[in-house]
Amino acid sequence: MTVHRNAEMPIALPDEPAVGLEQARAHGLTEDEYRAIERALARTPTFTELGVFSVMWSEHCSYKSSRRHLRMMPNAGPRVVGGPGENAGALEVGDGWVAVFKIESHNHPSFVEPYQGAATGVGGILRDIFTMGARPIASMDSLKFGAFDHPRTRYLLGGVVAGIGGYGNCVGVPTVAGETMFDAAYNGNILVNAFCLGLARRDELQSARARGVGNPVIYVGSATGRDGIHGASLLASAEFDAASETKRPTVQVGDPFTEKLLIEACLEAMRSGAIVAIQDMGAAGLTSSSSEMAARGQLGIELDLDRVPLRETGLTPYEILLSESQERMLLVAERGREADLAAIFARWDLHAMVIGRVTDDRRWRVRWRGQLVADIPVEALADHAPIYDRPARPPKRCESRGASQLTVSPAQALRRLLDSPNVGSKRWVYRQYDSIVLGNTVAGPGGDAAVLRIKDSRRALALKVDSNPRACAIDPYVGAAATVVEAARNVACVGARPVGLTNCLNYGNPERPEIMWQFVRGVEGIRDAALALETPVVSGNVSFYNETEGRAIPPTPAIAMLGVLEDLSRRVSHHFKRAGDAVVALRTAPARLAGSECAAMFGIEGGELAALDLRRERALIDGLVAAADRGLIKSAHDAGEGGLAVTLAECCFSPDGALGVEIERMPDGDEAEVFFGEGASTVVISADPDRMEELRGLFGGIEFIPIGRVIDAPRLRIANTGSANTIDEDVRELRQIHEQAISRRLAPHG
């Protein structure tokens, strides 16, 4: 590798476009940003350098609109290890294990090409996790599609689900939970958020901070092609319109087989102690991984592009640096250990190539065919991206009228709701996912939260991802806080203590004040709920510009919660266990129809969200964990989409389907709201009648309402005092409806 001479200047290559403000604008940079680049370089950038800045300073890579707000989120706590700056945070979960987890969006790529977009989304988040030295042990997916009858929905649903399965199944990481929602608000902009959890021994955590001047920079994984040039970075940083359809040639194709080899080889290489720092080549591939590792180490890096493995001929430096080809890792090795590493990677049929060195002058320097093509201060790329404090203003709201009335009988409404794709079983989705590989899945998809045992430990982990765009659309603050609380409650329903979360913030165009306001309020809601529940935010991802032809999606923060179950034998599941058990509704506040599936289905407008009292929410979660720990509850199920009546039905869907429930008195309140309202936290538990008082004592400050008992006939009986409308249905019939809500809509000619 040639030595750097201070005199040397990066050269413009023949047949490269001239660089100027116009070219900068074409790259999505503003005039101020372009001037800042000129200042940082004290000269005009070369075309290659301009491309590099345009991706590093894109919203996707730089978080320039969100960064100052994300700082609000609590990221400290007794369990937190591995600090900010690294790719993802980590939490102690006991027995010397740390959990590393993160969720990330792949919305636009999945809308353009559902199978590959979703598949590469899974691949990307897996790399974020094993790059930390953790072995990926579980995935989740949060999916938002348009209305089921929208012409593209079936195609997108089929492609996305097949893509998530196609990649996750082939790479051998179980997909254990998720969520799926259909709403016309996503007709033109679906959401595909992928989550991964990894486990590592505390001392195995791997850094992404370059060290050691002269240490080699090594490239490993798939060869570089023209995939996704300006893909993730630009697609996710500019509004989506018909023009994006022409970005087709940049579609990235996932190769899960190579990813599997990378996981095994990289984990083995890390254990060899020869790796100083490692980072996946995600968005802005080679550029971001190399400059960010250098920036963290306050060092420089020099790259020689002639040594980069290429898939096609004729790639320019610009293309090599910006390519987003999948399944590639960049690492800094201990000098002199190159051969050891090469041997480990060769064992896995992977080729490790030295493509550069760590330098001491804090510059990011790139050579191609012996010439210098980029020479940029590392900080300018990685740290000094512009940070915006964009104006935020609440939209003018049309006066919300009091909620109109539900016109059908509770029994009819219940059947209609169970048949809704948002309420019905998601089995059609998750049976396409391997949820058991690795042999830790105690409870996979289908319950409130997934439960994973930790081998050779009494402890287990619980996982769930949730979002609530309808509530967020009404009140972005309450909606976001309620989402954190729902995810935590789902985790607590299996008996686990929520210990930390990651978030994926899906919003519209931040350059519009009312969108920015939604975003800020959302972050504040997450902050307050996370503080109240003492669940630090260990990682996250922001996806802006989720708009089509000027129409933004509703604010959709997706929250993935991790819980720790101290004793696996204390695990609780959601269906009733024994006839004669008492059934209790635990409630923090009366439910409301506003923002509910029922309201959406029957066109009930207006109304207010249920009040959210974070102290009560905390009390409910603490009570559930304590009750499970003392073995006081036989079953617990969170009232999600569809409300209390739907939840009671789901509690009857036990494996043998022999049990039912007899409800003598529902909680007080307007019938429709009590039966089908949502928003407020309601959990249905069943327990031994003799332990009622003991139980009640654990739920101080929240409503503890005995509503009936489990019966040994498969019937759902709800007699609502003071109302003629009662429900008396055959559980097997209801289950049938619930089971087929999605599949029947996808049946050929259906």
Partner: protein, 91 residues
């Protein structure tokens, strides 16, 4: 008539299958193997007598269902006559 559709990964798009097969052929001792691409070979019976109309129909089938325009190119033959119309770029 009998329609034969030849679908292959678009040029420049990663083809993991092709790469794996090329690898494997080499390790089986087949020398001189260069790039390998793996696509789909679709044969369908189509009861349309007019050739021009048939061609148009097949193109619609390919664009709507048989191929993924994001990552695949295709050509097709009807009976024995190869379709040479411009939008079916042959590789």
């Amino acid at each position: 008539m009998l329609v034969k559709v030849f679908v292959s990964p678009r040029k420049g798009i990663l083809d993991p299958q092709g790469r794996a097969v090329a690898q494997s052929l080499k390790s089986l001792g087949f020398d001189g193997v260069g790039q390998v691409n793996i696509g789909r070979y679709i044969v369908l019976e189509l009861d349309i007598s007019d050739a021009e109309q048939a061609r148009a129909t097949v193109r619609r089938m390919c664009d709507q269902l048989l191929t993924n325009p994001n990552i695949e190119d295709y050509t097709f033959e009807i009976a024995a006559a190869r379709d040479e119309s411009p939008e079916n770029q042959s590789r």
